[in-house]
Amino acid sequence: MTPLSSCLLLSSLLFSVGFAGVLMRRNAILILIGIELMLNAANLNFIAFWRYGSAPEALTGVMFVIFSIGVAAAEAAVGLALIISIYRHRKTTQIDRMNSMRG
Amino acid sequence: MLGEGIAKGLIETARNFLGSYVNKDRLTTVQYPEERLPQAEATRDFPFLVYDGEDWQAGLRCVGCQICEKECPPKCIFIEKSTDKKPDAVGKPQFYPAVFNIDISVCMSCQICVKVCPFDAIKMDTAFELSTYDRFGGLLWDKAKLAKPNQHYHEIHPTEAAEVDGRLADERAKADAKAKAAAEAKASAPPPATPPAAPPANSGVSSTS
């Protein structure tokens, strides 16, 4: 097994675990954790393809991950702020109880 | 300007730091076990029982009235009253404490026992180095450990002790006078038919008191 495919395997495993978290938990914070894991899996892919790709000196993968980390930080901040705000109104972080928009 | 105060403070502490090496007067610390500060007269630490005279058993002022036991906030006093009586400081026959225990480790030096004692029997001591190796019961003091002579009281709180002694002497004098008056009344109460030869017996009673 080449290092690249093992990296990709790890990444897909991480992605699946994050996806499982998103699908199977109902706590908004845990869902956010799952999303973070999926994002990290994507970052790992970028790094792996940069490392074993054809033009590593272009640094495209590294740059992409830098920006992705920045976006992830912003996303986490806004997401958590939303969770806090929702919690303040509905006193819960379980997403299936946040159903005031339901018809 | 921001930071001026900080600079001033730093200079002050630096002066303290250097000055403490130069000027011994700055150092207020007392090297305790070797040096000690004289205790103020009003020092109060833990209670003790006062006795008069030489024999602590006989001279104990406490009459076992248990007022202090009831008043003690942390309930550290334990008293068992005696069944027999013996004469107290004034000379009246009184009960005495068969058992008088104070758990010093519980005592909080509040001095309420002293305030409520009508007999000036319990006072505050100035001893504070009370460590023991005994973890349980080492600080549970019984009557024998608690009893201290009146002289000790005079040593640690001279003014207060003098005042107490004066008051006790007054009371005793008053009691004497009262007894004398009672005796005289008794003497004068019988009809004049009684011959005046009777007084010697009376005077003998009064002299014993």
Binding site: S16, L23, N27, I33, E36, N43, I47, A77 | -
Partner: protein, 163 residues
């Protein structure tokens, strides 16, 4: 060898993060996963990314999540879905992973010799950020500012709520 250890650490942390009942334990395991991933990055030669991962994810995102957990009290139920939907979810996840793994396994494009370790000095990354990727960098800066203001506004104490 090292890769296997760190990969195992990462996956273990991730699994623990999504399956533990205590949210704080979840976050701590998540930190473990992040740290493991950072180690993997270092193994792959991406030094900057590895340290940035620790700085951002461990130092900031995880702490943010912790703060959120402490600010929102759990209401007793520990967020697992009902058994049926849980099973369905598990099935789908396994399906997704299966297809991904199969795709990776069967890909022919991956079977070539690994190239030599590429250079990625700080100097190069900095130059790339300032020259070729200057515009994305500005955009990210703008995004972060917007996120900062947005998060503060959303989470701000709402005055009219108070009696």
């Amino acid at each position: 060898m090292l890769f296997t250890i760190f990969a195992a650490l990462t996956v273990a942390g991730a699994v623990a993060a999504i399956s533990l009942r205590n949210l704080v334990h979840s976050v701590l395991s998540l930190i473990l996963a992040f740290a493991g991933l950072a180690a993997v990055y270092l193994l792959l030669g991406a030094q900057f990314i590895g340290f940035a991962q620790i700085l951002v994810y461990v130092g900031a995102v995880a702490i943010l999540i912790v703060f959120t957990i402490l600010l929102t009290r759990n209401d007793g139920t520990f967020g697992h879905s009902s058994q049926a939907s849980w099973n369905l979810g598990a099935l789908i996840v396994i399906a997704v992973f299966g297809t991904l793994a199969w795709a990776i396994h069967s890909s022919t494009a991956l079977h070539h010799a690994p190239p030599p370790q590429p250079e990625a000095t700080m100097q190069q990354i900095g130059t790339a950020l300032m020259v070729r990727f200057a515009l994305p960098l500005e955009v990210i800066g703008l995004l972060l500012t917007a996120a900062l203001i947005g998060a503060a506004t959303i989470a701000l104490h709402e005055k009219q709520e108070r009696p």
